[in-house]
Structures are given as structure tokens and as C-alpha cells.
Symmetry: C2
Subunit: 244 residues, 2 copies
């Protein structure tokens, strides 16, 4: 069979990998992916063949994955979190027309918006936006416009890739844009090393978040105007209370 | 121990329930939830005590859940999809100050944006918004404003609760608002009965979506201006191609 599974493995631990994802990895003869993600699941499949490329060679990784499948070897492309949210499902599916005999199945997983949200409580209980602050593939003006629109819509906001060595002040810039529309008292939170050893979390205000130093292993949550801090949790009400 | 787990069970099938969620349900003496969700997992835990309330009694359900835990019975509150995304984690955590001795743990799950997205391909590969069209708990003007802001930010959009008997034309109204900002040729998709028997999907344009009849078991996806239909899949590019 000529099959590729694009698999979301969740935040890292085996206890957050769905049985569907486990089955896909078991069926695969070759596990493809960025080395950091491969290393997370490798202990589960000792001896299984792996193929990795560095961070910047995503298209090549997808193409090789499809070539393995075309040659008859069932293959799994691993993604951290979900397969679709900033994952490899997109670039791989875009190559599909070149490999018409390969069947692709996308297997979803728990993305950081959900696993990080659970660690903080329920920040995404109502309508929300997910925005990546990485401008490697997206013009910064596009990111700025999305931050503004998300603030004007009073969405809860989850920020992926809030920082890196080259972009140390991007979170501060994002906060400044949000502060044009939102109160400095807006309830926010961040989670670092979600679902891994040394997980940390903090609930704080948007004003405090502006001065916070976070790293690339952190996911940031910015509340809507309704979001509250309750017993140390970050909670966005759905509206049941008002209804009652 | 006085513990409540708020558990996201994914779209329905056992193969999409994480081991962490399974462990939480196994530890619980009482499973709480809306009957439809309880029925999805009941075969996994024959004989386990269940407590349900009807659709509109969410706060009561959360309070009883905390009371069970306070009396020393470990309890799991089940949510379809994720525990936090339009789930029960929020209302339950808001009651926590009344139950200071109860420990709460939120266990994330695969929400319909991810499972439905996987069925369609990769519609949420880049920045996206999730919006519920239900105005039971949210004024319609708030929903309209969020649709407009999501369109102006050129986000991919995932719509929950696109329809019900009382709100048969809400999807059409939402499409009309989006069509003020977006092309009628925008690539869209919907998935019905995600991860359950009789799953259906369709990739179509925003103009076509406007005339589509969907039910309450359907999740709708509206592309950004960059979203493409590729070999029957709905794919939002991340930008690797341009970079290369």
C-alpha cells in the first residue's frame, strides 16, 4: 500500500498521544519528522527506521515522505501538537498532485492551544484566535493586522512562537498593539514546556505580560474583556451565568 | 481525595481519546456529563455510576460534580472534543471558590476544529479563528462583529454550531457578512459527524456555502485568501513555498 499518515503527536508525553496516532505510527515502516519530535516517540518504537531533516527543510522532508510511500513503504510524518495547526499536513498535501497513487491520511492531535489552555484552566472557552508571532514565513505587517483584528473582535487570543533569539522583543511589540485596543488589566497567561518535564505556568495581566521574558517553548494566552482570574486559573466565561 | 477531572473525550470514537483522558475516567467513581457524551464512553466503563443533566442545566451539572468530589468521590466531567473549547472547564472552574478543598484537573482533547480540519486536509495551517454561531449565550451583534474582524484579519475561520432548528439561516447570515470582505471563490469546507459513523465532508466555495443546508452536527471551515483546493483537500499554505 502507498500510504502516508501525517500524525499529530500532542505536546510530547505518551499519555497525550491518541490511539489513532499510535496505530498510524505502528503501521508505518518509516517515521519522518523534525528530530526533536522523532526523539519524543522513538522510545515507543525502538528499531524503527527514521528520516529527519533540519528545521528549515520542511518541503524536502514532505517530498521524501511521499517518495517513501510511492516506493511502497507506509510512512508517518510526525508533527508536534496537531498535524494541521502550523504542522506538516499542509505542505505535504500541497505536493499530493505529484504523487497521485499515494493515499494521505491526516491524524489530528492535541495542539498547544488546548494543552496549554488546560494547564491554565479555560482561557479559550469562548470564541478565540490562534496567531503565530513568527515572521519567518509571514510578513510582520500581516501579523500586526491580525493582532489588531483579534483585539477589535474581543477574541481570546493564543500566541504560538512568541519569541526566539532573533525575535526577543516580538511579544512586547504584540502586547503594545493589543494595548491600543485592550485594557492593561486584561487577564493573560503563559505555559512553558507544556506536558513535559518542568512545565511552568503563570497567570498575569496584559500590562505585566508586556514586560515578561518568554522563550520559544512557551505558549501565551491573552484573555477577552470577559476573561477572569479565578482561584489561580485563567477562565473565559461562556455566558451560562448571565443566562441563569 | 477530593478531585474532579474535566475531560475532553475528542469527537466520539475510542481511538481519539487520549490515554490521559482514559486514566482520568478510570480513576473517577462518577462520570458526569450531557447524556449524549456519556453514551459515547459508557461501553468502555460498564457499571460505572453516571450523573447527567439536560442540555440547559450546565451550571447545576458542574455544581453537582464538585459536590460529589467534596464528599470524597473522585469525579470526571466529560466534554465532547476539548474540555475547554465551548466545554465545561470554564463554568466548573468558576464555581471553584465555593469548593476550596476540591482539586480540579483539566484534561485536553481533540476539538472539532482539529478533527474536522484533519478530515478536510489542513484548513487551519496558518492563523485561525474559532467562532460559535450559537446566540443562546452570546448576543448576535457580538458574533457579527467577530465574523467581520476575522474576515478583515484574513484568518482561516472555523464555525461551531453553524445551525439548529431555531437558527436555520444563521450560516447564510454569517456568509453574507463574510462576503462583504471576502471573495465568493474563497475555498471552504464542512464536515458532518466527525469521527463517527456516517462522516461526510465537502470542499466548496464561500458562494456555494451560502446556499448549503447544514445541521448541528456539522463543523464549517472558511479559508483565508490563500486557502486552496488541492486534489480534493482544503489546504491553507503556511508559506514554505514562497520562502523556498
Amino acid at each position: 500500500m502507498n500510504k502516508v499518515y501525517v500524525v499529530g503527536i500532542g505536546p510530547g508525553g505518551a499519555e497525550q498521544i491518541t490511539p489513532q496516532a499510535r496505530t498510524a505510527m505502528e503501521r508505518a515502516e518509516v517515521l519522518c519528522g523534525y528530530m526533536v519530535y522523532i526523539d519524543l516517540v522513538r522510545p515507543l518504537y525502538p528499531g524503527k527506521e527514521v528520516f529527519t531533516t533540519p528545521m528549515t527543510r520542511e518541503i524536502e522532508r514532505c517530498r521524501r515522505c511521499l517518495e517513501f510511500a510511492q516506493s511502497g513503504r507506509t510512512t508517518a510524518m510526525l508533527c508536534s501538537g496537531d498535524a494541521g495547526v502550523y504542522g506538516m499536513a499542509g505542505p505535504l498535501l500541497q505536493l499530493c498532485p505529484e504523487f497521485p497513487e499515494v493515499e494521505v491520511e491526516v491524524v489530528p492531535g492535541v495542539t498547544a492551544a488546548l494543552s496549554g489552555g488546560a494547564a491554565l484552566g479555560a482561557p479559550l472557552m469562548h470564541d478565540f484566535c490562534v496567531i503565530s508571532l513568527s515572521d519567518l514565513l509571514t510578513p510582520w505587517e500581516t501579523i500586526e493586522n491580525r493582532l489588531r483584528c483579534a483585539a477589535r473582535g474581543d477574541f481570546s487570543i493564543c500566541l504560538y512562537n512568541p519569541s526566539s533569539k532573533k525575535r526577543a522583543d516580538y511579544l512586547r511589540q504584540a502586547c503594545d498593539i493589543l494595548l491600543e485596543e485592550k485594557s492593561g488589566e486584561t487577564v493573560c497567561g503563559w505555559v512553558r514546556n507544556i506536558g513535559r518535564e518542568g512545565q511552568e505556568r503563570r497567570v498575569l495581566t496584559l500590562g505585566e505580560l508586556r514586560g515578561e521574558t518568554v522563550d520559544m517553548f512557551t505558549t501565551v494566552f491573552i484573555g477577552s474583556s470577559a476573561t477572569q482570574a479565578v482561584s489561580g486559573w485563567m477562565v473565559t466565561p461562556r455566558g451560562y451565568e448571565a443566562k441563569r
